[in-house]
């Protein structure tokens, strides 16, 4: 067995044993300093392609997961995962496509106030985090998505968000102009 194979084995073992996705730095800590980890990951990814288990990258972190087309075999004795409300789904999408984004901006897009519980649910799920305050009057808190969001929704990065390039090209992800928000919207000017 060549030393390359040794590295592939090592990366495979560490990723299998990990209970969370691992970054390159974390992998390197376990398999050794100078290792060509990217090459080993590429080899592994190719090896597992089409198998029952696949190697995936999510937000710079790597993990093994079961192939999507086998979902029906695995849901067997699992409780139906909790459904996201429509408000939470829209709010999550707005944050993911616009981040960082303030509550007022979310409200301007949805046309209604963001209920207190909506952001809480998303933060509790670990998909959304506070992302600092915007340096404008009132210093509103902004929100952004987390690495766990990418992991859960199977996204390599935010660039991988469905249709994000088209939406950006259409100008639909631009910061809303103030005049636009003023269109018969009471209460979200703050």
């Amino acid at each position: 067995m060549t030393s390359d194979d040794g590295l592939v084995r090592a990366v495979e073992a560490v990723l299998f044993a990990a209970d969370a996705p691992l970054s390159l730095a974390e992998l390197r800590r376990h398999v050794g300093g100078d290792a060509a980890i990217e090459d080993a990951l590429a080899t592994l990814r190719a090896h597992f392609a089409g198998r029952g288990v696949e190697l995936v990258e999510r937000g710079g972190r790597w993990h093994f997961q079961t192939a999507a087309d086998l979902a029906h075999l695995l849901r067997y004795d699992r409780a139906e995962s909790r459904r996201l409300s429509r408000a939470a789904t829209e709010t999550l999408a707005i944050i993911a496509y616009h981040e960082p984004v303030s509550r007022a901006e979310i409200e301007a897009i949805r046309g209604v106030q963001v209920a207190k519980g909506t952001l809480d649910v998303l933060m509790e799920a670990g998909w959304v985090r506070p992302a600092g305050r915007r340096e404008v009057p009132g210093r509103p808190l902004t929100y952004a998505t987390t690495p766990a969001f990418l992991t859960h929704f199977g996204l390599i990065s935010r660039r991988d968000l469905p249709g994000i390039e088209d939406l950006r090209a259409a100008g639909l992800l631009d910061p809303a102009e103030q005049s636009e928000n003023d269109v018969a919207m009471s209460g979200d000017g703050d």
């Binding site: 993990h63 949805r110 209604v112 968000l161 005049s179 269109v183 018969a184």
Partner: protein
């Protein structure tokens, strides 16, 4: 979806605000949102609000605000164009259309997002990972000064303990006083201090006996039970019972 959107919107509580209602009405036009007739949409919206109020349904304030704004927009769009009108009603219509597009885009993005193969719902991570352990190895810090200082501290603290010796090869002062007093009774003339010392014993013991006997002699002299005589410094010391 009910068959007629007209019926549906009577229940305004089912809508997430006027924008949501507008978007649903716009979708009912069954054309691309970009090709939507804002005027037709406006009329539809106003009609529903009027219907709702005719049926004495509670209509939330933000729906009424939107209705008032749309009524203004409608009249501005219908009236002969005033080139100086500010803001331009066509532009306002475009802004409204843009808001609808934006909401529609995010609504669809959300739907696509939650329909993805989600970890823990459609795809699964390893069920029983061995787990990676980070073993924290403690590197203890201490320098030579700490070590020396600690030893000094112990020494100071335990000095009395350290001085306990296994056997005491000495003659105590009490012993010497008793010894010298007894022997003085038997000697009537001047007698050298050395004569009072015991024979034998270790060198340490003899030295101790000499020292103790000397002090005993001084003590007895102080009590007036003995007189001392010495010719000069370091000369032999003589003792005698006082006459």
């Amino acid at each position: 979806m009910p068959d007629h959107p007209d019926q549906l919107v009577l229940d305004l509580n089912g809508w997430e605000g006027p924008l949501d209602l507008l978007l649903t009405l716009a979708r009912a036009q069954k054309v691309d949102l970009r090709a939507i007739s804002i005027l037709a949409l406006t009329e539809q919206y106003l009609r529903h609000i009027t219907q709702a109020r005719a049926m004495k349904l509670e209509v939330a304030a933000d729906y009424l605000v939107m209705a008032a704004w749309l009524a203004y927009l409608k009249s501005a769009l219908l009236l002969p164009r005033d080139p100086d009108a500010e803001p331009d009603p066509e532009e306002l219509a475009l802004l409204l259309q843009r808001r609808l597009l934006r909401l529609a885009a995010m609504r669809e993005a959300g739907a696509r997002l939650v329909a993805r193969d989600r970890l823990g719902r459609d795809v699964f991570a390893r069920g029983a990972p061995e787990g990676l352990r980070t073993v924290r190895r403690t590197a203890y810090e201490a320098d030579l000064y700490d070590l020396i200082a600690a030893y000094g501290r112990i020494s100071a603290r335990t000095r009395p303990v350290m001085h306990i010796v296994a056997h005491r090869d000495v003659m105590t002062l009490e012993e010497a006083v008793a010894r010298v007093s007894t022997q003085l009774g038997m000697e009537l003339d001047w007698t050298a201090l050395e004569r009072f010392l015991p024979d034998g014993g270790s060198a340490d013991y003899r030295r101790s006996a000499l020292a103790s006997s000397f002090v005993a002699a001084l003590e007895l002299a102080r009590q007036g039970r003995v007189v001392l005589r010495q010719q000069g410094p370091f000369a032999p010391l003589y003792l005698r019972v006082p006459t």
